[in-house]
């Protein structure tokens, strides 16, 4: 019994310790921002790694999600004679929820795990220690650009996902199922509110970008500097990011649309 309690206590303390280290790391990363302003070129490679390399998977996923929404939505809505509202349904689902959330999950899997592996390997191969011995702060030099790169890329990717998805829904709804083109776009524009829907979606994806890159970088930086440690950290990145994104999504949705 006491052994069980001790185990629980130890697990709790470890979790708290990890949380504390993660926040200290975040402070370190944010303190690197002024330095990053003087070296914007460092950012370029990171926007490339997180953003450009994720474009294909994001665009293809967005297209299919939009097409599926078009199909499913049409069958449900046509039962109520409301197929005209297909555009609203597709766009609202994408812009409010699926765009930010699915993008964040895909980025966590595609770019987040890569970030963790990269940073973890740099730690395992003593590159981070090496930088420190060259009197270069590895947090400011290595982590901050990656963090900002992820933060910038996420909303752009989410917007791309939603836009491609709306077009996918249009292709299925208007092109294949014969929903009126004017109704599709007209209802869309009438019902989707810029501030309420689009801006909130962007805020969501910014929050997700923050959390996903933070988790990825922390897991890499905190990984055991061994091959096994790095691979475990990579798994943790995907699991923790997915849970954090979905949990945070609920909180944000409750705050934004809950009243």
């Amino acid at each position: 019994m006491s052994e069980l309690l001790r185990q629980l206590g130890r697990t709790g303390l470890q979790a708290l310790g990890g949380l504390g280290r993660a926040h200290l790391l975040l402070v370190g990363i944010l303190l690197g921002l002024p330095q990053l302003v003087t070296r914007p070129r460092l950012l370029l490679a990171q926007v490339f790694n997180v953003g450009v390399l994720s474009v294909l998977i994001i665009a293809v996923s967005g297209l299919f999600v939009g097409m599926v929404l078009g199909l499913q939505g049409y069958h449900v809505l046509s039962q109520f004679g409301a197929a005209q509202s297909l555009g609203v349904m597709v766009a609202a689902s994408l812009v409010r929820e699926l765009g930010p959330v699915v993008t964040a999950l895909l980025v966590a899997g595609r770019a987040g795990s890569a970030l963790t592996a990269e940073v973890g390997l740099m730690k395992a191969t003593e590159q981070l220690s090496g930088l420190e011995m060259m009197a270069v702060d590895p947090i400011k030099r290595i982590l901050t650009p990656r963090f900002v790169g992820g933060l910038i890329s996420m909303p752009l990717l989410a917007a791309l996902f939603s836009a491609v998805g709306v077009l996918g829904g249009w292709f299925v709804g208007v092109g294949l199922l014969g929903v009126d083109e004017g109704a599709y776009w007209g209802q869309l524009q009438a019902k989707i509110d810029f501030r309420e829907d689009v801006v909130n979606g962007v805020i969501k994806s910014l929050a997700f970008g923050f959390v996903v890159t933070w988790i990825s970088l922390f897991q890499g930086y905190d990984a055991d500097p061994t091959a096994e440690g790095v691979s475990r950290a990579t798994t943790r990145t995907v699991v923790h990011s997915a849970l954090a994104v979905l949990g945070l999504d609920f909180v944000l949705t409750a705050l934004m649309f809950g009243n």
């Binding site: 450009v52 909303p155 939603s162 491609v164 524009q189 989707i192 689009v198 979606g201």
Partner: protein, 156 residues
């Protein structure tokens, strides 16, 4: 160097694509193109019952949207709903005997305000109140009325 150049071009293309997508969502998908911020002028209207009218619902004339519902509040003195409408500046020639109705778009659609212009040569100005209003039709009342009439007919 050639590689740096490629990366720069690709990052540039990515940023541009993302911004275009955002712009597309803002202008083509959402209603941003239709709202012109806080422009236009305000009109007031009092209703006995606004039904499920919401803020930001459309205000139309002849089916064309000319503005939005700015706010809905309850007047403690008269037990009426006080609705403030924001009408776009272009439509500044609404006669002062204009009629305001709360309508429902379709059977299950949301409610909006339809203005019906009168014949007066005096126009409404910022802050004026629309005198003639008709409340929202509440489905239960309509059905109740219908049943009452039917009952009346059959008893005759």
């Amino acid at each position: 160097m050639a590689q740096t150049r490629t990366i720069e071009i690709l990052v540039g293309a990515f940023m541009a694509a993302g911004i275009v997508a955002l712009f597309f969502l803002a202008m083509h998908v959402s209603n941003l193109s239709a709202t012109k911020g806080g422009g236009g002028y305000l009109l007031k209207a009092r209703f006995d019952n606004v039904g499920s009218l919401k803020e930001r619902a459309p205000v139309t004339i002849a089916g064309v949207r000319i503005g939005r519902v700015e706010s809905i509040s309850f007047d403690k003195g008269t037990y009426e709903a006080l609705v403030t409408l924001r009408v776009e500046r272009d439509y500044d020639n609404l006669p002062n005997d204009t009629f305001a109705n709360v309508f429902t778009s379709g059977l299950l659609g949301e409610q909006y305000i339809a203005l019906d212009p009168g014949g007066s040569t005096e126009y409404l100005h910022d802050g004026d109140t629309i005198g003639h209003t008709q409340s929202a039709l509440v489905l239960e009342q309509m059905i109740g009325q219908f049943l009452y009439n039917k009952a009346g007919e059959s008893s005759q």
